[in-house]
Amino acid sequence: MTMTEKTPPQAPASRDGDHWAKPVDRLSAEGVAGAKLDSVTGKRVTGPLQGFGQLWQKTLRVPLEGSSMSPQEVIAVWKEQFATFWPKAGRFYAPLAGIVPGEVALMDLTPAPGSPIKLSTGIMVLYADDESFTFTTPEGHALSAWITFSAHRDGDVTVAQVQALERTSDPFVELAYMLGANRMNDRFWRDTLVNVGRAVGATDPTVVIDVVCVDKRRQWRHASNVRKSAMIRSVGHALAAPVRWIAGRN
């Protein structure tokens, strides 16, 4: 008699199964080259629900008039050259594997024009397919956010889009947001979209911005996020630079 092993029925694989990052408890930025400070390894991911400040949905779009690229081609270029499209206020250290689900990237941001201190933080690629990809922020990042980069067709024109669903992470960042950092953030993504537009051959890329405050309330139960602030860690790193320099000479 032959025993036949019975295979339990499998649930059909989801069409989006390969597009999402796998569950992860703590992030690791191993394998990201170039960044001086890793503020991400060991942190958990956050999202708009874990932040402190008001919840904003920002949608920035640029019709790529003059470009013949399809949405899929635009996204392929965007993923491939993501770091080069960032304005000078930021530096993006891409994961070696590229913009694929679950990968972690590091970044240095200038929190204010002329600031000698760089904010060292990062992102995880939460989702990626042929027409979009989404970043989520780790604990300590100034924003608790999901940011989706996508492209779609509107009539004969391909439109590139950045959509952020974001709260500031702690009361200090919220104050900074009220004092102008919110608009700086808008400008950052607007300049990024213009750079993408130029790279894919759009003539005179003009960005349209739509900002909606989804929730005006602040989540005081998350005010303690400040304890994990990457900004505080970055300031500490900058202040300790002379000590490291002296220690390095001895």
């Binding site: 649930a11 694989a13 989801s14 069409r15 989006d16 199964g17 597009h19 999402w20 990052a21 796998k22 569950p23 992860v24 991911v45 956050t46 999202g47 708009p48 629900l49 874990q50 919840l55 949905q57 939460l126 989702y127 397919d129 979009s132 989404t134 989520t136 999901w146 989706t148 996508s150 959509q163 669903l165 989804v214 929730d215 309330r217």
Partner: protein, 115 residues
């Protein structure tokens, strides 16, 4: 891409929104209209039943956040049921499971509301 369908079923103070097809940012109209109908009917708890969910991208997850915020503002309790292991993982990954109560099926979700 399959269209999103949202069917409303009401029992006492609990409404169930049966969500089927693909949930993406294009589903906003259907989803928010379903939620509005449930609230207009006086529901104080809403079960989002995902048994018929076939596909969800990050735009769809974003919609769940805005729906959750709307529910919190309106004092409406939001529960989820019928999630496959894959979508449970996504709710855990995005930490939405910290804010939406997850139950294996609609019956268990309705029972949890205790109406």
């Amino acid at each position: 891409m399959n269209a999103t369908t949202v069917a409303l079923d009401r029992s006492g103070g609990v409404a169930t929104l049966r969500i089927a097809g693909d949930v993406t940012s294009a589903s906003e109209g259907e989803l928010m209209a379903g939620y509005a109908r449930a609230v207009e009917d006086g529901a104080r708890a809403i079960v989002l039943d995902f048994s018929g969910l076939e596909y969800m991208n990050s735009g769809g997850i974003g919609l769940l956040v805005t729906l959750l915020v709307r529910a919190q503002r309106g004092g409406v309790r939001l529960l989820a049921s019928g999630l496959s292991d894959h979508y449970r993982e996504i709710l855990a990954l995005t930490r939405l499971d910290e804010a939406i109560e997850i139950h294996p099926d609609e019956e268990a979700a309705v029972a949890a509301v205790g109406v």
